[in-house]
């Protein structure tokens, strides 16, 4: 039986957490002293490069700290940090990029190289409007932006517009990128320009043509570093078309020593949609650092009645709480799935999915909204998605399946 003392202590603990307000318990657990010097107390996150390279990075940071206004060194460090952020999904790296660019960060008109990186960091922090302001300025008629930086700005702008659901504007940018204006930069720009245009036309109802174009580009690319990325774009297109070649393409995109978070998450979703939960567990175990991957891992574990699921769910909840505490609302899509697939709380999931839809309109965002709306018994809440489908001609096998099944039931 529960003794009254236990009850008292529970009450008091609850009181300490609730009555006084403030932070929840987990952030203030009782600290401890490890038992021995040899006890491993922390596994550092995945690291990139050799010890020597990291040593060099550290030395470069020291040099910049001594003389913070060395523009080329600052730009180099910021670029490296952004590349690591992409691979590891660690927003601390974006902070490092910002720190390297500190002397120029708050300027209204920073040097073009800084401005481009600032836009990239802001885009990654889901501050899309601020990113677009910088990108538009870089591409303004008569701006002194070097051509190469303009090309990068154009491509980044297209991807921001794509996330926002402004696909026609994004496609126009990709077309400009493929125009004579950038011809001097050769295939380095032509290939991403064509791929970006193909992806956008693929989203807007011309999936077959896009598929053919991307296949051709992949053949051209051969073993170029862009091949993995092209495979990812093709895999996502194949998934939308309901084509099983998606699996091989995802696997090809993942054939790198340290696959990036986005690609792993996309392939995990493909597997989850097919209830191949065991493969998701194998794929993502060891990458729990990234919330997006921990989410998918937790879904797979819960579905396979794995006893470790509860711990993963608790960790995710604590991370969402921590993000809420710092006022970060950039993960509404993931939180919607958390509520829907891990907490069985469709009503909460729908609220997050709707908030996310106001900011992002990619197929994955559409899918989350439609699924949450159905689970919550409020199919009409997904109407904005169906409107986008009608307006753009978006074809997505997953959305089509839901639409067909709901027609069957009504």
């Amino acid at each position: 039986m529960l003794s009254s003392t236990q009850r008292f202590v529970q009450t008091l603990a609850l009181c300490a957490a609730v009555c006084t307000g403030g932070l929840a318990g987990p952030a203030w657990a009782t600290p401890f002293v490890p038992h021995s010097d040899d006890e491993v107390v922390e596994r550092l996150p995945l690291r990139i490069g050799t010890p020597e390279q990291r040593q060099q990075q550290r030395a470069a940071r020291e040099r910049l700290r001594a003389q913070p206004t060395q523009l080329p060194l600052a730009v180099q460090l910021a670029r490296e940090a952004i590349a690591r952020a992409r691979q590891l999904g660690d927003p601390r790296e974006l902070g490092q990029a910002e720190a390297a660019l500190a002397p120029w960060w708050a300027l209204a008109e920073p040097p073009p190289a800084v401005r481009l990186l600032r836009a990239t960091v802001r885009q990654s922090q889901h501050d899309f409007d601020a990113a677009l302001v910088d990108l538009d300025a870089l591409l303004r008629e008569g701006s002194a932006t070097p051509l190469l930086l303009q090309a990068q700005a154009e491509l980044t702008r297209a991807s921001v517009l794509q996330v926002r659901g402004r696909w026609r504007e994004a496609a126009a940018g990709c077309e400009r990128l493929g125009s004579d204006r950038y011809a001097a930069l050769g295939n380095t720009v032509q290939l991403p320009a064509q791929a970006c245009l193909a992806e956008l036309t693929g989203l807007q109802g011309q999936a077959d043509r896009a598929q053919a174009t991307l296949a051709r580009l992949a053949r051209q690319a051969g073993n170029d570093p862009s091949a993995g990325w092209l495979s990812l774009v093709r895999a996502e297109l194949a998934e939308r078309r309901g084509d099983d070649s998606a699996q091989a393409l995802y696997r090809h995109a993942l054939q790198t020593p340290q696959p990036d978070v986005y690609t792993l998450a996309a392939y995990a979703d493909w597997l989850l949609d097919r209830s191949r939960n065991a493969e998701v567990i194998t794929l993502l175990t060891g990458r729990e650092d990234a919330d997006a991957l921990l989410l998918r891992l937790a879904i797979a574990r819960r579905r396979s009645h794995d006893p470790q699921a509860d711990a993963a769910i608790a960790t995710l909840a604590a991370r969402f709480d921590a993000a809420a505490l710092r006022g970060d609302r950039s993960h509404d899509r993931e939180q919607a799935r958390f509520e829907l697939e891990l907490k069985d709380n469709a009503a909460a999931a729908l609220l997050y999915a709707q908030a996310n839809w106001a900011k992002q309109k990619e197929p994955a965002d559409a899918l989350v909204l439609v699924r949450a709306a159905r689970a919550a018994g409020q199919a009409q809440a997904a109407e904005p998605v169906w409107r986008l489908v009608r307006d753009t001609g978006l074809q997505d096998a997953r959305l089509n399946a839901i639409a067909a099944s709901s027609k069957g039931t009504t």
Partner: protein, 380 residues
């Protein structure tokens, strides 16, 4: 240059989902204000410290405790440079650091730096100047909780901003959270069966007097009965308040199994005393002794949840006040009932005996469960 473009172009296309991909860098700062002192607990992620200080001496991607412990001075220095406190316009002075400790947060282990700050006078406005990682990670945030009495304020601090000012209540008037503790205390006593039964066992015979010749007999007048009830209840209250406080402030900590067992035994004895009276006069003394144990019941369990001594006083007071109010309500209702029934044969002949017997059996069951660490199916 060509490779560079690729890296960036691809990064640009892939980045959109990254903002949530990973928990960003947060540090947790807890400041407990008491008079002119501020107790600090500062939790900083080991991975952030490794980036700043290259803690991983053998570069194997893992930190062992030696690598962290031997660099504790550097860690402390970094933390001290990142934090300054002021009270009412005057700087506060940091005192010596507590022992190196770690804690687990949702994204890994954190170094825990504890220390006391002393300000020139009692703190009314606390200024927190937070600059940790201002140079290296502008996305870092310090999540600060300032606690004073039962109240706490939380703020999310950006490293580069100016001082954040917390208003600290002076503590004369009990803050709003106080009422919550009182309610919780009342709730607790109303559901705390063993405490209630102890009281009831003591009160059952209070309305009767034992005569040498004819056993129990209804008490003739109210005044001496009330005085007796008052003595018993006061003894219980005073006793458990004393030990509850001693327990909460970590002065005495008897083992919980013993305490729980003795609580059960106290209920058995109080009920048995009604059936086979041993202690007749001055039952309040017996109540006082056992009341001490009831209060002690909280000792080990309080330690389990890691509540610190500081800042516990007011919640504890509120909680105890609630307990007393709830107790008073029970006593009043019960007393009114038995007072009217006292003259009936049913009560004298049956109520007292049957009630005491039931309480004895139930408490005996608890006693066996608690003393021998068993689970009995019928006692719930």
């Amino acid at each position: 240059m060509k490779r560079l473009l690729h890296t960036l172009a691809l990064a640009g296309l892939l980045l959109p989902m990254l903002a949530m991909a990973h928990k960003p860098s947060d540090a947790y700062l807890q400041l407990q204000v008491e008079g002119p002192h501020v107790e600090q607990r500062f939790d900083i992620a080991l991975r952030d410290l490794d980036r700043e200080l290259a803690l991983d001496a053998d570069d194997n991607g893992q930190l062992d405790w030696r690598e962290v412990r031997t660099r504790w001075n550097d860690i402390a220095q970094l933390a001290q440079k990142g934090l300054a406190l002021g009270a009412d316009g005057q700087p506060c002075n940091p005192e010596a650091l507590g022992t190196p400790q770690l804690d687990e947060h949702s994204d890994g282990r954190y170094a825990v730096l504890t220390r006391r700050w002393t300000c020139p006078a009692n703190v009314h406005q606390l200024d927190v100047i937070y600059t940790l990682f201002a140079q290296t990670d502008p996305t870092h945030r310090g999540i600060v909780r300032v606690q004073h009495g039962t109240q706490s304020d939380t703020a999310v601090l950006m490293p580069a901003t100016a001082a954040h000012r917390f208003e600290v209540a002076t503590g004369e008037a009990p803050p709003a959270g106080f009422a919550g503790f009182v309610l919780e205390g009342m709730h607790h006593i109303l559901i705390g069966t063993d405490h209630i039964l102890f009281l009831l066992a003591l009160l059952l015979p209070a309305v009767l007097v034992r005569t040498p010749a004819r056993g129990w007999k209804a008490a003739p007048s109210l005044r001496p009965v009330l005085a007796d009830v008052l003595r018993v209840v006061t003894a219980f209250t005073v006793a458990h308040s004393i030990t509850l406080a001693l327990a909460a402030f970590d002065v005495v900590n008897p083992p919980s199994r013993w305490v729980e067992s003795i609580i059960a035994a106290s209920v058995v004895l109080a009920a048995l005393n009604n059936l086979y009276p041993v202690v007749r006069e001055g039952r309040w003394k017996l109540t006082f002794v056992f009341g001490l144990v009831h209060g002690f019941g909280f000792a080990s369990a309080l330690k389990d949840i890691g509540l610190t001594k500081t800042g516990l006083a007011l919640p504890l007071f509120g909680f105890n006040l609630g307990v007393e109010l709830g107790q008073l309500a029970i006593v009043a209702i019960f007393f009114a009932g038995v007072w009217t029934l006292r003259d009936t044969r049913l009560y004298r002949g049956f109520g007292l005996r049957a009630g005491s017997a039931v309480i004895t059996v139930l408490a005996l069951g608890w006693l066996i469960e608690r003393a021998f660490d068993l689970k009995l199916p019928l006692i719930s």
